[in-house]
């Protein structure tokens, strides 16, 4: 893939599409162009049949230390409304393929929100999360109050959002914000291993599981159950379901095609 992005780098490792935030000198502070680039890279991986998993990481010491404050400091509400920049974040959250965030160092403010848009978070032992927006007289605007609350419940979310307090990797693990902690030297290879494992599963199963789990987050149970059932039925029209069940009976490894 030709890399013509200004603020990110993309590459492909087997069936994994890699996106690395690449403004290490400013701890990968997210500016608007960068978000557009992340979205564009994700959407292109989402459309690419050879890619089954997306890994999002940050180059340098941090994942992303927040949004580019200077860029927005002079903006008024009407600017925000007309720009409608958060639409891009909604589109990141609607990517169909599984996304693993690989977080070392800071994931603060917008950086934390970006990680929360991903499906799995693998963190280094030095990873630090937090919403410091309150210290600047504002608040999260790209889903922070909503996604954190749905993950950890009201009480802890309030505490962290009111105080801007840093969340250590261990706390994040304890509260179910992240999946695992690794030493930073081996973090990316562990994420690639996990990504490779997911990439070897039937892609349509993964796709419909992601859709159903996301549905569970903000749908009444009955509706979610209904949705799950339809997805379950739908998978029985796939070639991979036939291959998977045949391989199971024949006691061999399945060869999934994503069809």
């Amino acid at each position: 893939m030709i890399n013509n992005y200004e603020y990110i780098q993309t590459s492909i490792e087997g069936r994994i599409g890699m996106i690395a935030l690449n403004r290490p000198d400013v701890l990968n502070a997210l500016n608007r162009t960068m978000v557009v680039e992340i979205l564009s890279a994700m959407e292109s991986f989402d459309q690419d049949e050879s890619i089954r998993v997306i890994i999002l990481s940050g180059n340098g010491r941090a994942f992303a230390a927040g949004a580019d404050i200077e860029e927005m400091s002079a903006d008024g509400p009407i600017d925000f409304e007309l720009l409608n920049q958060f639409k891009n974040w909604d589109r990141i959250a609607s990517i169909k393929k599984p996304i693993i965030a690989v977080v070392q160092g800071f994931a603060l403010g917008g950086g934390f929100e970006l990680a929360l848009c991903c499906d799995l978070i693998f963190a280094a032992d030095d990873a630090t999360f937090g919403f410091p927006e309150v210290n600047l007289g504002v608040m999260p605007g790209a889903g922070g109050t909503q996604r954190l609350t749905k993950l950890v419940g009201k009480t802890k979310a309030m505490e962290w959002l009111f105080t801007g307090k840093r969340i250590t990797a261990n706390e994040a693990l304890q509260f179910g914000i992240i999946n695992s902690i690794f030493a930073k030297e081996i973090l990316i290879e562990e994420a690639l291993k996990a990504g490779g494992m997911i990439a070897s599963q039937a892609p349509l199963s993964i796709r419909f599981i992601k859709e159903a789990v996301l549905k569970a987050v903000d749908t009444p149970l009955e509706e979610g159950m209904h949705f799950e059932r339809k997805n379950f039925y739908l998978l029985f029209s796939s070639e991979d379901q036939k291959e998977g069940m045949r391989a199971f009976i024949e006691k061999r490894n399945p060869d999934f095609k994503g069809r």
Partner: protein, 257 residues
């Protein structure tokens, strides 16, 4: 650049000398900050593979400078703002940290020595849990490290009785890595520090990390940590050098990478 300490780097060892000898190196807020900064800087400095903290003059460190203590002082705030960050910095340091205890280490001065990985003692060194004598509690990690080093019962005796422990008693208790005669003190500390600086630095950092976490995790989790650390150590050039030197029947020359 520092006012209360002196720092120099020789032969890959960073020497941090507490430098208020007329006050027996009593800790002031400024010294708290400077110890933290100097440990942090040594941790980041690629030329440093071992850190020594020692005292200038006849004391290692007599603890908190009591001249600043008054009725309005919030003792908890002093710890949260000054001592805890300092001790955390030492505790999180990847490189081996030696307390070269040249004389008395009392109160927070003892805590400082306990926070280090090794304690080299001059025969003139002593430890005093002096907190109890002013109606206070050993702090700055003291009661965390002490029972791990010498067991619960002895830690409790020291903390509550507040008796002075001389260097040979300290050695019996397990508080000392080594005790040296005063006339060979300087050379022995330097040679011990340089010996550590010549070891595989990454492996040392991983050993420190896993030992620290062993207090808080399950056996199964610690086995997983072993695997992760060995993967990291296995990629270092020091590991390759170690194996190569073994096969070639020579002494390895580790570069700390």
């Amino acid at each position: 650049m520092y006012e209360t300490i002196k720092v120099e780097v020789t032969n890959q060892v960073a020497w941090i000398k507490l430098s208020r000898p007329d006050k027996l190196n009593a800790i002031t807020a400024q010294m708290n900050k400077e110890i933290l900064q100097s440990v942090k800087a040594a941790g980041k400095n690629d030329q440093v593979r071992c850190i020594v903290i020692t005292g200038e003059g006849r004391a290692f460190c007599s603890g908190q400078d009591l001249t600043g203590v008054n009725e309005d002082m919030d003792h908890g705030k002093v710890l949260r703002d000054l001592y805890n960050p300092m001790v955390l910095e030492i505790h999180h340091c990847d490189k081996p940290v030696i307390a070269a205890v040249n004389g008395v280490a009392a109160g927070a001065g003892m805590s400082l020595a306990l926070a280090c990985d090794f304690r080299l003692l001059s025969e003139k060194a002593s430890f005093v849990e002096s907190f109890i004598h002013v109606g206070l509690v050993p702090d700055a990690g003291n009661l965390y490290f002490l029972p791990k080093l010498i067991g619960h019962a002895k830690a409790l005796e020291l903390a509550i009785l507040g008796e002075k422990i001389n260097s040979s008693q300290a050695e019996e208790l397990g508080l000392a890595t080594k005790v040296f005669n005063d006339n060979i003190w300087q050379e022995e500390v330097a040679s011990f520090a340089e010996r550590l600086a010549a070891l595989p630095t990454t492996a040392i950092s991983l050993i420190k990390k896993n030992l620290k976490s062993s207090w808080n995790i399950t056996f199964a989790d610690s086995l997983e940590k072993d695997a992760q650390s060995q993967r990291i150590a296995g990629m270092t050039s020091d590991h390759k050098e170690g194996v190569k030197a073994f096969i070639e029947k020579r002494k390895p020359s580790f570069q700390g990478r």
